[in-house]
Each structure stands twice: as C-alpha cells, then as structure tokens.
C-alpha cells in the first residue's frame, strides 16, 4: 500500500477505499520490516501516528473538507522541531532535546493532516554528504546497503526510496536534499531561499539553509511544496509572496523552453556513467521541443571554497548556543568555562568540531578580510553568473552529483568529501531553487539530473521535470531494501 504515490493515495482516501489508519498501519509495518537493515529513522512515533490517523479518518467521515495531504504518512528530518517529540539533529549534544514548539513546516503539515511517522537520521547538524557523521548510526542506501544514502538528509531520502514514508522533508544547505535524492533515486527539491519558513529548523548556515520535500515523483513534489510554501512572520527571511498552485505547471509542455547546460558541470571529475545518463535525459527533453544549449558559469570552480568559508563561519556562530546551559548534554564542571568546553567537546562529533574551528578561524581578527569577506565577494560573482544565464535561459540542467553513491567508509578525508557537493553548492550560494530527479542508472545505482531555476520560479523546473518524467520510459527496478510491494508503483 505504501508503494502508492501521494497523489494516488489521496484519491483512494478521498473515495474512502482506504483509510488513513490502514495507510499508517501499512507504513509502520513497512518500517518494522526494513528499518532494522536500512536505519533511516532515529525515532518512530508509532502511537502518535496511529492516533493522528484515526483523527483524520473521523474528520473525513464527518464530511469535513480536508487538505490534499490529510492521512498521508510522512517523515521529517531530525533537525526539524516537533513539539513533544525528540529532535536530536543527529548529535549527542541534543540526545535528549524535546522541543516545546513545532517548526513552521511541522505545524503546516500537522494542520494539513499529514501523519508523522517519525524523525529521520542525518549527518550531525546537517554537516556531511553521507549520513556517516550521525552521532548515532549510519543509514544504508536502499539500492546497496554497503553504500551511503548521501547526506545530510540521508534518512529522509532512504525512507522515501525504500517505501517507508510516502514523502519526507529534509533541509539543504549545500546539497543536503538533492545529493541524497540522487543517490537514493527519488525526487528532491530545494526551494528558493525564503520560499519555505525556516522557523524551527535547527540552524546550520542561516543564509543558505532551506527546507524541501523528498517524494517518489514530480507531482508529489508539487503537492508537498503547495503545503509548505507559506509566508511566516516568525522567519524574517520568509518571502512575502503568494505561492502558485505548483500542480498547474505539470502539463508536460516544454516546447521552445530554453535549457542551458553549463560546460563546467560536465567537465573533468564527472563519472562517465553519470554524464551518459544526464545527456540521455537532455536528449529526451530536446526531443520534446526544448532548446538545449551549452552555456558557461565561469566561477563554478570557486563554489566549494567560497561555500566552506561562508557556511562554516555561519555555523560557528549558530552552534555557539550549545553550551550545556539551556538544553541537551551538560558535562558538569567546577566553573562555567570548563563546563562549556567539556560539554561541547563531548557533545560534538569530529566534523562539527572541524567546521566550528574553520569558521571561528575565518571570522577571527586578522583573517576576516582574507577569508570570510573574500568568500562573500566571490559569492556575488557566482550569483552574477546565474543571473546572466537566466537572462537567456528558462532553466539550467546539470548532473546532481559527480558520481553515484559511494561505499560506506570509502572517503576519510574531509576535503575529498566536500568535493561531492561540487554540482549543488553554487545553488545555495545564489539562493536559487533546484530539483534532483532520477534519470537512469550507472553500475546499477541511481543517477540524478539537477534542474536549477530562477528565484521563486519553482514552477518552471517542476514543469521541465514532469515533462521528462512522463517521457523517460517506465522504471521497473526497485531498491534492494524496500517495503514489500516496493517503493515505486
């Protein structure tokens, strides 16, 4: 039953052919069946989920007009606050943190009647590209349990790919939705910066973070975006701009649409199998009447260094709040400074410490201009590249990642790990919307096609994504770890 898309499940719920309770029970059974191997969930909220599902069914029986997502079982990344439900950020320092409030997106989904199944694993504080940096355990890739699901939203991606949850939310600071979506063969969208409220999203890098959906297909992506793209006065960066109904863009029409393919994103370092799959997808779009042309984004190579200076600087400031005073872990000490130091040293993992140190250094007296300010200026150049490209093109297409999912433990060096973000990172620096969707396989592992749009033009990338999805041919391959009945209908 959980092999259904949100769209199909909605129709069945509406016709009362299935109930939210049945759907939720099926999802919970699925989690019991596979999560011992997959390990996508940090917390499963079984009792609350069943109660919420029964409540939705009661409302439907009483004839109430319900939101499209009412009764749909879903999962949230564990850095999204959930009132009364453990929210760890994948960190030992928040091992016992139970938020007294809901994030804006939690509230919106709760009000819509979506059923929270639980909280998914992530790299600690969303810092990583493999979910190996979780303070608790490593999540497996459903296509090959020896491999990583990507990160940092690896739990959300794996849960949707394996059919545990019908959709999930993640957060994306430098690719943390799109890269795991690519590695797990699902659709993942990072909306425009400001499109979705960050209220209640535990901050990593505030000028880059954005929440977005993981879904089985493009229509579901539009449906979930409809529910969460809402202005929120509690986030001062939340856009004061009404969102369109994103499903209205799903007409399959791409004739005359101009798609730019930056040559820098297909250059050295991109695996042959990935390149082939992406070029194959572009051929399909061209055959539908899109004009696919090579373009240049000349500052692409500077994205990673600029990003790692900006993101770590913001992180070093945001993570200063974890000091053992108000919540989470405390290492008792005779004086306050020692308590801070011991708490932070015991509570944070290796990568988080490294990033706090890098950020602290680049902001420190004497280095600010050379590193942080320089990176902010380069960020302007990267934005200008996109701005110029969007003067002539409706959207930009690239691979989502340079390769397919790698083996657990294969990348030990931090800098090599950062290179995984080479195709996704500039999008965050520029604040643009971008989507990753499956476009084939390389060596039996999913490949992601990334579509990048103009600010607040999620509609166009959904249109192009939908057109490709409708015309790419059927995909009958299922992940090795998946709930009986399979993840893909």
């Amino acid at each position: 039953m959980t092999d259904l898309t949100v769209d199909l499940a909605m129709a069945l719920l509406e016709k009362k052919e299935i109930s939210a309770l049945e759907l939720t029970q099926a999802a919970l059974t699925g989690i019991e069946e596979v999560d011992g191997r997959l390990r996508a969930f940090i917390t499963v909220t079984r009792e609350q989920a069943l109660a919420a599902a029964a409540a939705v069914d009661a409302r439907r029986r009483s004839g109430e007009k319900l939101n499209p997502l009412a009764g749909i079982p879903m999962a949230l990344k564990d850095n999204i606050c959930t009132r009364g439900i453990l929210t760890t950020c994948g960190s030992r320092i928040l091992y016992n943190f139970v938020p007294p409030y809901d994030a804006a997106v939690t509230e919106l989904l709760r009000e819509a009647g979506a059923i929270l199944l639980g909280k998914t694993n992530l790299d600690e504080f969303a810092m990583g590209s493999s979910t190996e940096n979780s303070g608790f355990f490593v999540t497996r890739n459903p296509w090959d349990p020896e491999r990583v699901p990507g990160g940092s939203s690896g739990g959300s991606a794996a849960a949707v790919a394996a059919g545990e949850a019908m959709f999930a939310l993640g957060s994306d600071t430098g690719g943390s939705i799109r890269q795991p979506a690519a590695y797990c063969g699902v659709v993942g969208l990072k909306p425009t910066y400001g499109r979705v409220s960050r209220f209640g999203l535990v901050a990593f890098a505030s000028s880059l973070d954005q929440i977005g959906p993981f879904t089985k297909d493009v229509r579901d992506c539009a449906l979930v975006l409809n529910a969460i793209a809402v202005h929120d006065p509690r986030d001062s960066t939340s856009a004061h701009m009404p969102a369109p109904d994103y499903t209205t863009f799903l007409d399959g029409e791409v004739k005359g649409m101009r798609i730019g393919v930056p040559r820098e994103y297909l250059a050295a370092g991109i695996e042959e199998g990935v390149k082939e799959a992406v070029l194959g997808a572009l051929k399909v779009l061209a055959s539908l009447g899109a004009e696919v042309e090579e373009i240049s984004l000349p500052h692409t190579d500077y994205g990673i260094p600029a990003y790692y200076l900006v993101a770590t600087a913001e992180a070093s400031s945001n993570l200063a709040r974890y000091d053992g005073v108000q919540y989470g872990l405390r290492a008792e000490s005779a004086n306050l400074t020692d308590m801070y130091k011991k708490t932070r040293s015991q509570g944070f993992g290796d990568e988080v410490k490294r990033r706090i140190m890098l950020g602290t250094y680049s902001l420190s007296s004497g280095y600010y201009d050379a590193y942080y300010l320089k990176a902010l200026k380069v960020r302007t150049l990267i934005r200008q590249d996109f701005h110029r490209a969007f003067a002539s093109y409706h959207c930009i297409a690239t691979p989502t990642t340079p390769g397919v999912a790698f083996k657990i433990g294969a990348i030990a060096d931090p800098l090599t790990m950062y290179m995984n973000d080479v195709c996704t990172i500039a999008v965050n620096l520029a604040g643009l919307p971008a989507l990753s969707m499956p476009c084939g396989f390389s060596g039996g592992l999913p490949v992601g096609l990334q579509l990048i749009g103009k600010p607040f033009d999620e509609g166009t990338i959904l249109r192009v994504a939908f057109a490709y999805e409708q015309n790419r041919g059927p995909n009958h391959v299922r992940p090795r770890i998946s709930v009986r009945g399979g993840a893909f209908s």
């Binding site: 500052h299 801070y340 140190m357 902010l376 960020r379 302007t380």
Partner: protein, 101 residues
C-alpha cells in the same frame, strides 16, 4: 598563509572546544589542506565587488510592537540540565578561591 598548531589551539579556545594533542595535530593538517584549497579564491580579482551576505534584498523586518504570549516557563525549563527557582542553574561564573583550589 599556513595555520600553526598554536593558532589551532587559540581557535579551539575561542570556540570553547577542548581538544587533545593528537586532535590538535590532525586538525592543523586538515585545516591547512582546506585553507590551501580556499586560497584559490585569491586568484580572483574582487576589487569593486560588493559582498553577498544574504541573497534577499531585505533590510530590517519589523513586526507590530504588540504583546504576544510566550512559552510557559515550565516548558522552557523542561530541557534544562539543571533548573532551580524558575531559572537555569550553572556553575560559578567567576573563579572563587574555593573553585580555584
């Protein structure tokens, strides 16, 4: 520009992190590798380029100055490692003679 072991120790102190000798050496090497990579930014001429701290053209965002309800005190303190009398309890801030012994 190379970061030294002493600078790493200083940065750790600023970030309120306690790191071992071994971590110190490891972080020094790793941070140097990252900073060396970051040095490629120097090859770009950014004179006259405005920095982008934020992509949205926002200035100050205000709301009406009206009283709103806050979270109840017991809920706010529920996550505190130690709370007392409606407040967070912490160890002494100033070194006392007793604490320094």
């Amino acid at each position: 520009m190379k970061i030294t072991v002493e600078e790493v120790a200083h940065v750790a102190q600023l970030a309120r992190l306690e790191i071992t000798e071994e971590e110190m050496r490891l972080y020094t090497d790793q941070l140097n590798a990252i900073l060396e990579y970051a040095a490629r930014l120097d090859s770009l001429d950014t004179s006259g380029i405005q920095p982008t701290a934020h992509v949205l053209p926002l200035k100050n965002v205000f709301r009406e100055d009206i009283k709103k309800t806050c979270l109840p005190l017991d809920e706010v303190l529920a996550n505190a490692p130690r709370a007392e009398g409606g407040m967070f309890r912490v160890p002494p801030v100033l070194e006392t003679e007793e604490a320094s012994q």
